[in-house]
């Protein structure tokens, strides 16, 4: 084309991370809603897991036999579904808010998959943050709900490996939930017709 060859456009994962962090920093409210949403679901899960650990430690050290009821796990699943729906909703709103910016980015050379990547990276970061926060809230919740019966010192008797497993598991699950919840909104954003996106008035 006029001497120069048609090459591609580029947008690395690192570029997406940098821009994603900017979006999270500047649109903090939306990010907080998403992080809180996934954190609550994860907190519910880790509360139950730690309650279970605490009871086992308590029983093993000669205390009365206590256990987590099955219905509590059902409640946890409901909490997680609610958090996924919450994130999807918040991300859909984020897509609408950014219609014009998405159109503009496509004018500047962004491909569909770059837009997709941008939204998924944001979801990933929020998922990791939500997992960590949810884990901490979960330990707190379990201590508060069981500490008075089994004693607060129980936390130091849970094997480190078990705690670590729950931490890693929480982070992975929350990241997966956050990313899964964002797939639909992100696909919508990526497939936006630039002409339509540019003429959109919020």
């Amino acid at each position: 084309m006029g001497g120069d060859r048609i090459e591609g456009v580029s947008f690395s994962l690192w570029d997406a991370v940098r821009l994603g962090v900017d979006y999270i920093k500047r649109r903090r409210d939306r990010a907080i809603i998403n992080v809180a949403s996934v954190a609550l679901g994860i907190a519910f899960l880790t509360t139950l897991l730690f309650t279970d650990s605490f009871y086992r430690v308590h029983t093993a050290t000669g205390g009365a036999s206590l256990r987590v009821e099955a219905y509590q796990y059902w409640l946890m699943i409901v909490a997680i579904v609610v958090s996924v729906v919450g994130i999807t909703n918040a991300m859909l709103i984020a897509v609408y808010e950014r219609y014009k910016e998405i159109g503009t980015m496509k004018c500047l050379g962004a491909l569909d998959r770059h837009v997709l990547m941008l939204f998924l990276v944001e979801a990933f970061i929020q998922g990791v943050a939500g997992g960590l926060l949810g884990f901490l809230m979960g330990i707190g919740g379990a201590l508060l709900s069981t500490g008075f019966t089994v004693g607060f010192g129980v936390i130091f008797k849970v094997p480190a490996l078990e705690t670590l497993t729950v931490l890693v598991g929480s982070m992975i699950l929350s990241t997966v939930l956050s990313v899964v919840a964002t797939i639909y909104p992100a696909l919508r954003a990526a497939r936006l017709d630039p002409v339509e996106a540019l003429s959109y008035e919020l």
């Binding site: 580029s10 947008f11 900017d22």
Partner: protein
């Protein structure tokens, strides 16, 4: 095709179906635009200006006819190649500036260089130079909300030039600006057209902008009504 022709439109048409009615946004447009030319496109709203822009900018596909840019029929390009075209060959300027709100002025200007694969430091350096050249050297770290309308449009102009495109498409660039600020923007665009030899195509109602141009294309009902020398 002569090498001096950068854009050639052949019987270009774009029809939409809307509620069972066919709307002819463009209906057979033929024109050749020279490299380095300053072209104003004038016409009532709904006359097809924006659709014409979208066609030249590779944002929309024609129902009929051809768009050649530098001799390449852009309807033959795939999504990847079109993105490249938008990124490297064309700079867009909008009535509403369309800056990315979360990014600073210098980051906004550097954004097209990211897509062009320019290393980050080099892109930011280039962006800083461009912002200085449009008179915003002191405000490179401001965000769009901290800039006046005229300053935002300057940032948008710097961004449009980031990859040194051959063509600048400006859709009502002074439409949201007061008279004096609009004049400054017109002077700036005109200067870029003359000093850098960028082909400038502007849709406008602004008589000052029209007066500065080499040719004026009058559009009506999706067709070129007449072409005047400026």
């Amino acid at each position: 095709m002569s090498f001096d022709i950068i854009i050639q439109l052949e019987d270009l048409a774009r029809h939409y179906e809307m509620g069972g009615v066919t709307i002819k946004a463009l209906d057979g447009v033929d024109i050749e635009i020279n490299r380095g030319e300053y072209l104003s496109i004038v016409g009532p709203s709904g006359s097809g200006k924006t659709t014409l822009f979208n066609m030249i900018g590779g944002l929309d596909r024609p129902t009929r006819g051809r768009v050649y840019i530098d001799g390449v029929d852009i309807s033959q390009l795939d999504a990847y190649e079109l993105a490249w075209l938008r990124c490297r060959k064309i700079g867009y300027i909008f009535q509403t500036f369309n800056l990315i709100q979360v990014l600073t002025a210098v980051e906004n200007v550097a954004l097209p260089t990211v897509f062009a694969g320019v290393p980050r430091d080099e892109g930011l350096e280039r962006a800083e130079k461009l912002l200085t050249s449009v008179g915003l050297g002191e405000r490179i770290h401001h965000r769009p909300t901290e800039l006046s309308a005229g300053q935002q449009q300057r940032v948008a102009i710097a961004r449009a030039m980031a990859n040194d495109p051959a063509i600048i498409l400006a859709d009502e660039p002074t439409g949201n600006l007061d008279l004096n600020t609009g004049m400054e923007i017109i002077d700036l665009l005109h200067g870029l057209n003359k000093t850098r030899g960028m082909t400038l195509i502007a849709a406008t109602h602004d008589t000052k902008m029209i007066k500065a141009s080499d040719r004026i294309v009058w559009m009506r009902d999706g067709k070129i009504e007449r072409i005047e020398r400026g």
